[in-house]
């Protein structure tokens, strides 16, 4: 029998001595979602992404300026995402 409690999943088992025991080491599978980023719009730029939604809150070529703009908008710990200026590292078809 399984019970989910927050991020953990517990399994209740009947032990040999007849007592109920639980196995709390089983962890519910977690999938971290990564919403789309339109990198084509931001070639060669640093993006500051909102942590929960990964929405672009500031962008530009100088990282310090991007982080300052994000801070001014109230985003103190954005995710920093770099977009290469060209797709040379990746093989893509335009």
């Amino acid at each position: 029998m399984f019970y989910a409690l927050g991020r953990l999943m517990y399994q209740i088992v009947i032990a040999k001595d007849g007592r109920l025991r639980y196995n709390g080491s089983m962890q519910k599978e977690k999938i971290i979602q990564m919403p789309a980023i339109d990198e084509g719009k931001y070639r060669g730029e640093w993006l500051a992404l909102e942590q929960e939604t990964r929405k672009v809150v500031a962008h530009g070529v100088i990282l310090k300026d991007v982080l300052k703009e994000a801070e001014e908008k109230g985003y103190h710990d954005p995710i920093i995402h770099g977009v290469p200026s060209s797709d040379i590292h990746f093989i893509t078809i335009e």
Partner: protein, 141 residues
């Protein structure tokens, strides 16, 4: 832990294996995206991220970095151990900070592949990470 591929690209609709992690120095931590790249020898980030995170490069090993830009020119880099946190795991990974203001962030063989066993599924568009040297953080501490 499973992470979805990120639909992102320049002129491309092919999703890519980005991971959001925390890069730590003694006094600061920043959230950064890195592209899981089996072709990178080490984790590699632009030097501006080291500055932003407050990572001291004065005692770092000097290295030359080739292959990440299209000029064919080698760039100077600084190799240092860096502490990372991803979900509820932490590890110290060898990381090269390359002298460029251009945005770069790659998670390579030394620094990421040595911390996790990684299973890519293009059809499911997921990356499955199972810790090897990465240590589970005791959240109750």
């Amino acid at each position: 832990m499973k992470i979805e591929y990120t639909p992102a690209g320049i002129g491309s609709t092919v999703s890519k294996p980005y991971v959001s992690l925390i890069m730590c120095s003694q006094n600061k931590r920043i959230y950064v995206d890195g592209l899981i790249d089996s072709g990178s020898d080490h984790n590699l980030f632009s030097i501006v991220l080291a500055e932003s995170c407050g990572i001291d490069l004065r005692h770092a090993a000097r290295v030359s970095v080739a292959g990440f830009n299209h000029t064919g020119k080698k760039n100077k880099g600084y190799l240092v151990p860096v502490k990372y946190v991803l979900d509820n795991y932490e590890w110290v990974g060898d990381t090269v900070f390359v002298e460029t203001e251009q945005p770069h962030g790659f998670l390579g063989q030394a620094g990421f592949f040595d911390a996790f066993n990684i299973l890519f599924s293009y059809s499911h568009e997921t990356i499955e990470l199972n810790p090897v040297s990465a240590q589970k953080i005791d959240l109750l501490k």
